[in-house]
Amino acid sequence: MRRYIAFFKMRLMAGLQYRAAALAGLSTQFVWGGMELLIYRAFWLEHPERFPMGMEALAAYVWLQQAFLTLFALWQWEPELIHSVRTGAVAYELTRPADLYGMWMARSLAVRLSRGLLRAAPVILLGALIPAPWGLRLRITPAVFGLFLLSTVLMLLVVCAFTMFIYALTFHLTDPNGVMVLSTAAADLLGGAIVPLPFLPEGLRRIAALSPFGAMQNVPLRIFGGDIAGAAILQAMGLQVFWAVVLIAAGYVLMDAGLRRTVIAGG
């Protein structure tokens, strides 16, 4: 375990170096969130009674979504890993005295966490300065906050396990681009990136909530806003655990099978 933690730390520190890029990204994120809320505001002013979630919960959702974007944005793949499988450079990685799945998983977690940490705080701060109900209300109970943190960790696991599953698939496919394109689009639609899950039509919403994509940003963002509360929290987090376990197991098996078939020519 210690070597995976070391690997994780190494990547985390490398990621934290790009402070200027993070700062430039910030204003983009802030404008993006603002425009998003302005649309919902227009709908809200006309038909507040047709809103499936409270405006404050929605505002929290949008601001946190922008703040933690890099934690769960599925389109931020790691091209290096896929490239190494395709070119065969993965052979170098295999010579290391560590399990490939664990090593890459630690790396994925660290990359996402470092990008997310740099960007989150300022967006949250700015979001909190905006008056209610459009701003991010920070007054939540410690219990809810704890659950939010726990579910964020679970989300990160599900997201990374999903990307690992796709990387593992690369061992079996010649070109993973098609799968990546499709899964990114599905995640946008079913994960609550286009519109939060409660805004989806009923049938689609049920499917989305049960899918692995529904176990990503959907859960922590809505726990924070108070949109998922009480027993629903347990259910949603149970699904997160379920998908994390299933995806990690599937990715591990798939990668193992792929590696067993891999023949590395010397030279």
């Binding site: 890029a21 430039a24 990204g25 204003s27 983009t28 404008v31 993006w32 425009m35 302005l38 649309i39 505001r41 227009a42 709908f43 006309e46 038909h47 047709r50 499936p52 070109d175 681009n177 098609g178 394109v181 499709l182 990114t184 689009a185 946008d188 639609l189 286009i194 519109v195 805004f199 989806l200 039509p201």
Partner: protein, 257 residues
């Protein structure tokens, strides 16, 4: 001009060599904007209308912005990829050639896969025409064409500024995304929906509303006929863009390697 068309055909041929990859990128680009429109559909389904606009009217509005961005992204790709051109010192080579810089950069790259989005725009437009969102007259059809073409020019101007800023920063500024990718994303609703502040910024500062919101009012019979001519005024935006670009080129000094 003949030279430009030669380059176009070369880029097209090279893109078509890898058919599967070409097709996949098309699908990828298409899914992004298709999802965007699905989001609009879901919200309209729930709320009925926004700011008095119905879904077919929004489809018309989005198809204008979508066509404009995909045209600009396809043909002005060289400016979009300018940080790379600059970093790899290809710009030095361009400076010594006896052709205009703009022309050379335009010839540098083409992104035909973006045209897949044009297909979506055409389908949305056809649907909106059929559902009778607008009482069409020849003048209105001409205004629509003007909106798309001038819109593409405004986006081209934005790419020009983006490229010019690279002379000072050497890397692409993510902030510019607000006006390029962002505008495509927000353009799904008429800019008036976002409130007066946003509308004024997009009218006087970056004139995207001049090719979308104001002429749309004319198309939907909500505003006077001269609103239909405003896309032409948006072309004025190209003046400051060109100035910034010139300034950038003058500021450039090669590493000489």
């Amino acid at each position: 001009m003949r030279l430009y068309f030669r380059f176009l055909s070369i880029h097209l041929k090279s893109a078509m060599t890898y058919k599967a990859s070409f097709f996949l990128s098309c699908v990828g680009h298409l899914l992004v904007t298709l999802n965007t429109f699905l989001g609009v559909t879901f919200l309209l389904d729930r709320f009925g209308a926004i700011g008095g606009y119905t879904l077919p009217q929004l489809a018309l509005c989005f198809s204008v912005i979508l066509s404009a961005t995909s045209l600009a992204e396809c043909f002005a790709r060289g400016f979009d990829a300018f940080p790379k051109i600059l970093r790899e010192a290809q710009f030095d080579r361009m400076l010594v050639r006896p052709r205009s810089l703009t022309m050379q950069i335009l010839c540098q790259d083409l992104k035909p896969t973006m045209l897949a989005r044009l297909l979506q725009a055409v389908v949305m437009l056809a649907w909106s025409v059929r559902s009778g969102a607008v009482n069409w007259t020849p003048a209105k059809a001409a205004v629509l064409a003007l909106m798309i073409l001038c819109g593409a020019c405004v986006f081209f101007g934005l790419f020009l500024i983006y490229a010019a800023l690279c002379f000072f920063t050497l890397e692409g500024l993510e902030v510019m995304n607000i006006f390029t990718d962002g505008a495509r994303e927000y353009g799904k609703y008429p800019f008036g929906v976002y409130g007066k502040g946003v509308l004024y910024v997009l009218t006087f500062l970056v004139p995207l509303a001049l090719v979308q919101y104001w002429p749309l009012q004319y198309l939907l019979d909500r505003g006077p006929a001269w609103y239909g001519l405003l896309p032409l005024a948006a072309l004025g935006f190209l003046v400051p863009c060109t100035l910034v670009w010139r300034m950038g080129v003058r500021h450039y000094c090669s590493t000489g390697s």
